[in-house]
Amino acid sequence: MNDSTSMPQNVVVLGGTSEIATHTLRLLSGRRLKKVLLVGRNKNALESSAMGLESLGVDCAIHVRDTTDIKSASRLEDAVKESLDTVDLVLVATGMLGSSDFENLGPLGVAEIIETNFVGPSSELVVLADILKRQGFGSIVIISSVAGVRVRKDNFIYGSAKAGLDAFAQGLSQCLAPHNIRVTIVRFGFVRTRMTKGLKDAPMTIDVDTASSLLVAAIEKGKTGVVWIPSNLKFLFAILRALPTKIWWKLSERS
């Protein structure tokens, strides 16, 4: 159950090996976290994430996703039923930056990035939303990115997939609100993680610890709708979004 300060006990994580997710779960384990179902593609990586959490006293189950299996959705539902009594929070943290060199990636490579960041999580969200609806409460936190707010050459495939997920989440939020399910879309700026390793810092770069503690704070305050982390990104992107294309191109070329 969620307590009155929005702290969840049972959590499903899509993208169970994501660094932001792992750090967030660590923080939640100091609060009310009891049991987690980690969903992802890589069994070994999921198992080692699970081990880390178990050492903090959190019960863990893993579910290995296979997107090529059309029965994948119902398998996810079974996994949730088997491992969790209630689903208080669904944390969507799936993320694959990939490259934006589409010529080299080819059609399949591009499809994979979009599949991982958008198609996979959206279709899984449909399954999970149904579970939440039936249990009569719950929250969904979706990790989005400013990369999808104003896309640029360097990461536009990832950015466009995140933009899709972000838009999907906005619609889902409206559909689920009457069912007592709160959806929060968290637009992160540049967070230093494994995924962004080797890339140059962008304005307002933060580390994973800061990112996840700001995320937990947003949950605790019961925020819904769109949350920017760090919060000043909201103003920065209000400007960036309004820039004429030519200027944006020049600007993003230089960074």
Binding site: M1, S4, T5, K34, T86, F137, N180
Partner: protein, 454 residues
């Protein structure tokens, strides 16, 4: 019986969930709902007037039995004050009916809008706990429909004491026989006095509480330093006929309170800001008399001042609020002071808090009252801070050998809860016997793992 889904929450308006609400109009229908739940595999929680603050009377995605229509009076003996009623009847109704006949409810919480079932299930206490104990002490017998069927229980059964304070987890109480308390008038003779700090307050209460049937202190939790814990004590007894001026004796048992105006629809933010609360607390303290003896007050003013404002819970804003109530044993006054001090230093702005001395507890396994000091305070939620502040208080309370009150709780750690209630395993054994199929549960029970045996 068909139900329909409704969004329900407790009085604090936190963590609501959609539940399949059933409103049976007879004991028979309650039994039918229970039988049909056995077939569908759904779980059940009973619900009264929803005045518990947290998630005790809700069960997301499952069945809520709203017992409010079971509000009959089956029998009453106006000589002995023994009445048999449906568990859905409210204390408000009992007062309206029986006060004019010279009988008062044996225990009343700070609101009249609770059901008899809710009063038993939470084993509620009132301002007379130090003299009369809690509600369960005045229940002569009750009828419980558990998953095993209909049972008549009285204080000689351990199932009775598992149901008193059992938070609806043993089954649905459908009837109860209660011993009312005799009164001559519908008025209270009240002594009011101020205490300028917590030490003075403790001293006055320790030495003179026993002279009164009813006693409670309202504490200002914002002032600090030498004003720490400054408070106004109100204590009293039912006025006797001879306490009234002759002109008033004719209508001495008149009781017909008006239900208050509704608070303005839920405001999108809370008007109870640190500044307004601080100002209110200060005004209120200075407006109270330093000492005033023998004032004749109406029952509503003395017991239920908040009932005069309908839906006041909405004033805490859209994120709701939490009432934190704990008890620490006598001898642990330092823990009490530590909490008052921490609160006055913290950014938590609690509206008036209420302090009371509890007397002896009863045989209920999960009942809250036990000898010691109990303090209740309200904090608005929706900001950073309350969660960790309450966790901090829990630790002080546990270390002092105290506990928090389930009817008010919405956030305690499950492991701390079970440490605070050492009789939990004993209760679980009895409850498993009453409900082997785990038919009864609640959001609260799940959140605190109350039904999970270690």
């Amino acid at each position: 019986m068909v139900g329909h889904f409704e969004l329900v929450s407790g009085w604090g308006r936190t963590s609501p969930s959609y539940c399949d609400i059933h409103r049976p109009i007879s004991d028979q229908e309650v039994a039918e709902i229970i039988e049909s739940a056995k077939r569908t595999g759904k779980q059940i929680v009973p619900r009264g007037l929803g005045r518990s603050y947290g998630d005790a009377a809700q069960l997301g995605g499952n069945i809520v039995i709203d017992v409010r229509s079971l509000d009959h009076i089956y029998a009453c003996d106006l000589d002995s004050g023994l009445i048999s009623v449906g568990a859905g009847i409210s204390l408000d109704a009992l007062m309206r009916i029986f006060i004019p006949m010279g009988w008062f409810v044996p225990v009343t919480p700070g609101t009249r809008f609770v059901t008899v079932g809710g009063a038993i299930a939470a084993d509620v206490h009132g301002k007379n706990h130090h003299v009369d104990g809690s509600f369960g002490n005045h229940v002569a017998s009750l009828t419980l429909i558990s998953s095993k069927g209909v049972m008549e229980l009285d204080p000689s059964n351990e199932e009775f004491w598992a149901t008193v304070g059992g938070m609806g987890l043993t089954g649905t109480i459908v009837r109860a026989t209660i011993r009312m308390s005799k009164i001559e008038t519908s008025l209270i003779k009240v002594d009011t006095e101020r205490a300028s700090n917590i030490d003075e307050l403790i001293n006055i209460m320790e030495t003179t509480d026993d002279n009164y049937k009813y006693s409670v202190a309202w504490i200002d939790l914002i002032s600090s330093g030498k004003n720490l814990g400054r408070s106004v004590l109100t204590r009293g007894d039912h006025a006797l006929l001879e306490d009234l001026p002759a002109a008033k004796r004719k209508k001495a048992r008149y009781f017909d309170p008006k239900v208050g105006l509704k608070a303005p629809l839920s405001p999108p933010f809370s008007p109870l800001t640190p500044l307004t609360v601080r100002t209110f607390n200060t005004l209120w303290y200075h407006k109270s008399p330093t000492r005033k003896l023998g004032e004749i007050q109406e029952i509503t003013k003395f017991f239920h001042p908040l009932d005069g404002v309908g839906d006041w819970n909405k004033l805490y804003g859209p994120k709701g609020f939490c009432q934190y109530q704990f008890v620490v044993p006598f001898g642990q006054e330092d823990a009490l002071k530590q909490i008052i001090d921490a609160t006055s230093r913290s950014k938590m702005t609690s509206f008036l808090a209420v302090l009371k001395r509890f007397g002896e507890g009863n045989a209920s396994h999960l009942s809250f009252p036990s000898p010691g000091w109990t303090l209740a305070l309200d904090v608005a939620l929706g900001a950073l801070g309350p969660a960790k502040y309450f966790d901090y208080l829990d630790n002080i309370v546990l270390k002092a050998g105290g506990k928090i009150y389930l009817a008010k709780d919405s956030r305690v750690r499950p492991d701390l809860f079970s440490a605070m209630y050492p009789n939990l395993p004993k209760w679980q054994v009895i409850r498993d016997r009453l409900d082997p199929d785990n038919l009864f549960s609640s959001d609260l029970a799940k959140r605190l793992s109350i039904l999970e045996t270690k």
